[in-house]
Symmetry: C2
Subunit: 399 residues, 2 copies
């Protein structure tokens, strides 16, 4: 059987994701579409609007055959580690192709870029370091270093977020499993960061904004599949809310202000005395947006700060991340179609170990319980109990 | 000047407290009534119904001249350490008398008891240890050991909670500063643990129950001074609520379920594998009462468990308590009358160091910030900011 890997967050699933899924199937001619999906927290350091179980079920309803969780310690990371975790999982899953969406839409542009990078490795890293030392954020330093080695003469626009991510994917494929063939499809939706909705290809950001604006009814029928609206509503009626950072602020505030500074320093992502700025900023900020505005500098991007706050909320330390990154990520199935089940049978010849819930001996049992406790903390206690039970049930199987 | 020390919690101040204050003044003929009062968390491991600033102000309005904070690490402890902290502070404050309320009401009964204990020290401790080993709680083991050395032939009923506490006070006075003369007045109010209100001397427990029952208006005019009602209402209109354990449950739940077991073991009061029972109990309990009922055993009293949960909520570790108990408790003034100010001037000859707020170099600056953050966590963030500002203002001074 032929498998095509997708690296996704589906927060929430929209028409652009459907387009990517269908186009990837056509481009790869795969039998099984394998989505590696972030869990309850996402690459930008945000809680997902609905939990991983509901997003995985939705993905299968839209054509994914297997949904595998990208563990927190790869998902809530900068793009290089995010890509590394996903490619490792897709390599273990014997994917023949990996197809990603990009602004560029032509795989040769990515290969050119990686070649340039490889041929100018020392120079690139020298410039990267210089730029970081000048107080630039990592993405900005990366861009400056690429320019220094002549990157702007390539066809690929490396200031576009999905092109940057795609470069990481291709680069990690070449490092980890060059047998996988990278493919890309051109994104149809509007800009990644757009906050205004546009039909029919709106960005997930603009869709979330629409959903989370409390004082109006959202009509998303022209930008998301009907099942997205259905599952979003199911989630809200079961658990009482959709998730966004602002709702967690009282927990974050409580947690930071009852922590010892030494313990705050142990949290993954905190360095260079950032702990002191966090403490003094949170003392004054009355909501999450205020906190972020107080914290934001040239050096620290919005997303890098959000990831740090996610690590504080979930109590994730440097040492723990270090240990987790040193072992292969476990394969946890969140949802599957009948084709996905066939694919798992086909994989049996490779003797891969799968996990179908958070039951022991799942190696991330305790870790995942903790992440889930942080993610669901904003629900009533009764609803938290119900929500957490999902983690111990078999994965969703489409009939 | 002559000072008379009182050891109090005033949760909230009621007619029985007023009686104790007036009677103590008469019995001691003191110029200055000094109340050593627990801060935001109390000996039974509960959050105080209103914060220490409001309770201190109320105490001064009722005749206390100086209100000094008994620090968390002495207040939220078993009766022996609670007594030790209070007597240490009153010794530093050069109190001539300490007058406590008791069921017994006659100081000779306490002295007899202490003599008996002193004369049978080894035997008493042998029986105490035996009783603890059999799984009895500390108060119960204490009672059994007293019986073994013939305690039931004394006039003092050592099963009564305020008699037990009084014994600790007298015993600590003899150890720490025998120049202080102990006095006792007979309590007028109904039983310490009574949950039913009785007029005019209701227990603080029954008064809190009355106040915290949300579905009815409370009329406490016959059991508390008018100022108590006034200050309770002031507090609620300023901060939005009165404090009780149940409101903290979502924080406690979040905190415990995002903690590493090893960190839970470091919390003061957790031993003998209790961390595992806490984790398994809280996973199932949907409110604080349920949690307590699941946790309660012969060995662990309700109050000892509440103290442990207060330590978890405030992130107070064994190591930290150990370190704090090894240095003299700082004298922090919460409120004072003109007489109190005169008394502080009179004390100048002794070169005592006082603190009038949580401003540095107050030695518990960070510690107190943490305790306050935990205590006020149930308020809105804006109200938490306002509430915490009180800690950095000068103490309340009665005009």
């Amino acid at each position: 059987m032929r498998g095509c890997g997708l690296i996704v967050e589906y927060n929430p699933f929209h028409n652009g994701h459907k387009y990517h899924l269908d186009q990837s199937q056509q481009a790869s001619n795969a039998d099984c579409m394998i989505a590696v999906m972030s869990g309850n927290f996402l690459q930008r350091g945000e809680p997902a609007i609905i939990d991983k179980h509901h997003r995985a079920k939705l993905a299968v309803s839209q054509g994914a055959d297997l949904v595998i969780e990208l563990p927190y310690y790869y998902a809530v990371q900068h793009s290089e580690l995010f890509a590394e975790g996903a490619i490792k999982l897709l390599s273990t899953l014997k994917a023949d192709h990996i197809c990603f969406g990009s602004e560029h839409g032509d795989i040769t542009g990515f290969l050119e870029m990686i070649n340039l990078l490889k041929n100018n490795f020392t120079e690139f890293h020298y410039h990267l370091k210089q730029a970081l030392n000048k107080g630039n954020s990592y993405p900005r330093a990366n861009e400056l270093a690429f320019r220094q080695i002549g990157g702007e003469h390539l066809s690929l626009d490396f200031t576009q977020p999905n092109n940057i991510l795609g470069t990481q994917y291709v680069s990690k494929i070449l490092q980890i499993d060059p047998a996988i063939q990278p493919l890309t499809v051109k994104r149809q939706q509007n800009n990644y960061h757009d906050r205004q909705i546009s039909i029919p290809f709106a960005s997930a950001t603009s869709i979330r904004k629409e959903l989370l604006t409390v004082d109006k009814e959202s009509d998303l029928s022209e930008t998301v599949p009907a099942e997205t609206t259905e599952i979003l509503n199911q989630y809200k009626s079961a658990f009482g809310c959709w998730h966004e950072w602002e709702q967690y602020y009282s927990y974050l505030y409580y947690r930071i202000l009852t922590m010892e500074t030494d313990d705050l320093k142990k949290i993954h992502g905190i360095k260079e005395g950032l702990e002191n700025r966090i403490i003094s900023s949170i003392r004054e900020a009355t909501d999450f947006q205020q906190l972020m505005r107080k914290m934001k500098t040239k050096r620290y991007t919005w997303t890098s700060l959000q990831r740090i706050f996610a690590n504080i909320l979930t109590n994730t330390t440097k040492d723990e991340i270090e240990a987790k990154l040193h072992v292969p990520p476990p394969l946890r199935i969140l949802a599957m179609s009948p084709t996905g089940i066939k694919y798992l049978n086909y994989l049996k010849q490779y003797d891969q170990k799968f996990f179908t819930s958070n039951k022991k001996p799942y190696p991330d049992h305790d870790f995942d319980n903790r992440i889930a406790s942080a993610y669901y903390s904003i629900l009533s206690i009764e609803k938290q109990h119900t929500a957490k039970k999902q983690d111990f049930k078999p994965p969703y199987m489409m009939a």
